[in-house]
Symmetry: C2
Subunit: 449 residues, 2 copies
């Protein structure tokens, strides 16, 4: 290897590393060839050769009359996973095997790097701001928060949440909102409000593995609807299943689905809701990741926007974006189910923790939430990009990857013949917890994810 | 009326008022006749006549060689309510009428004096101490609390709660405890852990009307067990019912039962647990008022102490004694049901609010809890005495009253022919919410309470 060859490869490697570690962001412009020539004391042709090398491996792209840019990471740059289409699903009770307990234990074991859940790292959350709010809390304010609250939650917090529905939920008001102990309680109350014993719930396949736990504990019978890694739940498949199966309720995540990261388009959302409205089937939408979009500056639409029959129940929380430990979520169940959800809330947890509601309302009122969210989205997107690039670099050929447009989970399809459970066990030996695809379904699918 | 007669009556009236408003406490010694003779410039015989008058109406009592004492308010000084013993109860689904919604609305309406629930007034709770703890919270500590916690709850808080079980639960350790969103969530998780659809739950009659709400929302079938205003649930009646009815679980409040205030003796507790152990029937005990005893200085025993088969699930919280708004309760379900309860907790509310757990653990660790509890018990007891005396003074003859030995509820039986619902409506017109007895049962009993 002559010296010149060594030099351009060395430069290409360094730039590549800096792209992978997020120094250079997807879509960002790189220094020009002329700038690098001067700054690094390298010949124009050495720098040019390095850029060509990076272009070849797909890390950067030349834009005419503009220069070289870090290539935006998108579904285009990876081959997306392919879900096998099997026989139409049959309703079944949820039974989970030992793998699930192992994953749950691993997630909570100190010293293990948990990549098995979509938890946001505390360092990325506005804990300093919350600390400052607590320091200003007077004894008189504490006296107001120490007693029981009403089941629907703090009025000011509900108003702040209602303000944030601008543009995605025209009819929402503070009155429509019920504060819950996280999004999980919201979903669980809505499920219990709609389902009677023996009823069938339609869910996405794959789905959030925490939901499967819940379904098992509540004894809910489910039917799985095929769900596309990019486009979300398949309305055609759902329609077919509805012809044979008496589904009483659906639970979907239209925005940045867990675990796929799929984002349904507005057209798909509208079509889905029209189908369910026509059959008078209630649908619970979990929008917990709705605020974690990577593209543009507005959050994606809700199923609720297309609802003509008051059958969509929207659930969300601040657990991915502000403070998981505060356990503040909410349900907007619509007039039809509001009373029932509220009575369930009053009967099971009485009200949501008052101090946390107060601190969150103060945080939202002071206007720093938007700034925090913009910065959080950028950081999560950087992490996502880094991780996706690392998977591309280190995983064997044949690996497929759906890089999502939001959320915080990467759905990876292993090369043919590889087993997610084996990879899970091997990773765990190295103190890393991942989520084997098989635990995201009740039917043994997704073994190679 | 001659002047002398006027004088002794005037004195009797003044002392009576001071007893009713708590200036002189039940059991407290009054100034001696000689002292009052000197201090008030009244003749010995005038003071003596006043004391005789007060003795006659039952407010004070003479103790040989000691003097006059405010009569301890106890079941002895009131005629206790009499529960009609009807036909053996049949299992039934819980249906609640409009009265319940009215009570719930009234409880939460600003401007209405709520005497319908056992909520402790915020002014009696240690809100200043909690405010001080929050002011010392560092950003680094907040960073630790802002993320998700484990479903079973903060380890230090569990340890603090375990320390407090000394003397009432020999086997309890931090490991055995699951932190919940108040006692309600603890009870609700235990119920769901044990009951399948269609199963029958045995409950006390009357019972906490919030429980009935929960049973309705969860679709639980219940059978009511007669419960004595002083001695608690009737084990004989339960035994009879068990002969005919397949009961899968019981939910009882052995200590200061809501709404009766009944305290079961150790003997009755032991007998009850022996009966249920023998038949392998799990029992959930709600001990939320266990710390609110008025007599002696140790909390009453738990059913758990008599449990030989790991079938008693103990639930409690700090909502009556420290901070209802923090929503911190716990379940100690025993080894048999621990995993199931924990999975339900993880599936429905994931974990209990982290900040609240931390603040509560700090409060318990600094040792001021005992002092607060002693003072709280005394204040609640004073309120209870005042209210009982007011009922005696202002309610019509024939009123019966169980003055409890703990807790914060008074169970009043109206004279024959009076209707609790009518009284409820009349009180509500005057902006006072009371609890009509009929909402504490599913069988239309207790209309005159």
């Amino acid at each position: 290897m002559d010296e010149k060859q060594f030099r351009y490869q060395h430069l290409a490697e360094e730039i590549g590393t800096k792209i992978r570690n997020g120094t250079y962001q997807p879509g960002e412009k790189l220094p020009s060839i002329r700038q690098l020539h001067r700054r690094l004391q390298l010949s124009i042709s050495t720098v040019y050769q390095a850029f060509v090398e990076l272009e070849t491996v797909g890390l950067i792209e030349a834009r005419p009359r503009s220069g070289y840019y870090v290539r935006p990471v998108s579904l285009k740059s990876f081959r997306p996973p392919v879900h096998a289409t099997g026989k139409p699903a049959k309703p079944r009770k949820v039974e989970l095997d030992g793998m699930v307990n192992s994953v749950l234990t691993a997630m909570h074991t100190p010293g293990i790097l948990s990549m098995a859940s979509s938890a946001t790292a505390p360092a990325l959350l506005p804990f300093r701001r919350f600390t400052r709010i607590l320091k200003t809390l007077s004894a008189a304010e504490m006296e107001k928060r120490i007693g029981y609250g009403v089941p629907q939650g703090d009025a000011e917090l509900r108003r702040q949440i209602a303000r944030r529905t601008l543009g995605v939920m025209p009819d929402a008001s503070a009155e429509a909102i019920i504060i819950t102990n996280g999004c999980s309680e919201a979903v669980s109350l809505c499920l219990q409000a709609v389902l009677s014993p023996g009823d069938i719930l339609a869910i996405e396949a794959p789905t959030h593995f925490g939901f499967l736990q819940l379904f098992r504990e509540l004894g809910i019978t489910v039917v799985e609807i095929p769900t596309h890694p990019r486009d979300g739940v398949d309305a055609d498949a759902l329609e077919e299943i509805l012809k044979q199966t008496p589904v009483q309720c659906c639970l979907f995540m239209p925005n940045f689905q867990n675990p796929l990261g799929a984002l349904m388009s507005d057209e798909r959302k509208e079509r889905l809701v029209r189908l369910l409205n026509r059959r008078e089937i209630p649908v619970i939408e979990d929008d917990i990741c709705g605020e974690m979009f990577f593209e543009g500056n507005r959050r994606p639409a809700l199923l609720k926007q297309f609802d003509r029959k008051d059958l969509v129940m929207t659930c969300s929380s601040f657990s991915k974006t502000l403070a998981p430990g505060f356990r503040i979520g909410w349900a907007i169940p619509g007039k039809r189910f509001r009373e029932k959800v509220l009575r369930l809330k009053a009967g099971t947890t009485v009200c949501t923790a008052m101090l946390d509601q107060y601190v969150m309302a103060r945080f939202l009122a002071d206007g720093s939430a938007e700034r925090h969210l913009r910065s959080l989205r950028q950081k999560i997107r950087q992490q996502m990009t880094k991780t996706a690039l690392a998977v591309e670099q280190y995983f064997p050929p044949g690996t497929r990857l759906a890089v999502p447009r939001g959320g915080s989970l990467l759905w990876v399809q292993l090369p043919r013949g590889a087993d997610g459970a084996t990879l899970y066990r091997q990773a765990l030996e190295r103190k890393i917890a991942i989520l084997p695809g098989v635990v995201c379904s009740v039917s043994g699918q997704f073994r190679d994810y």
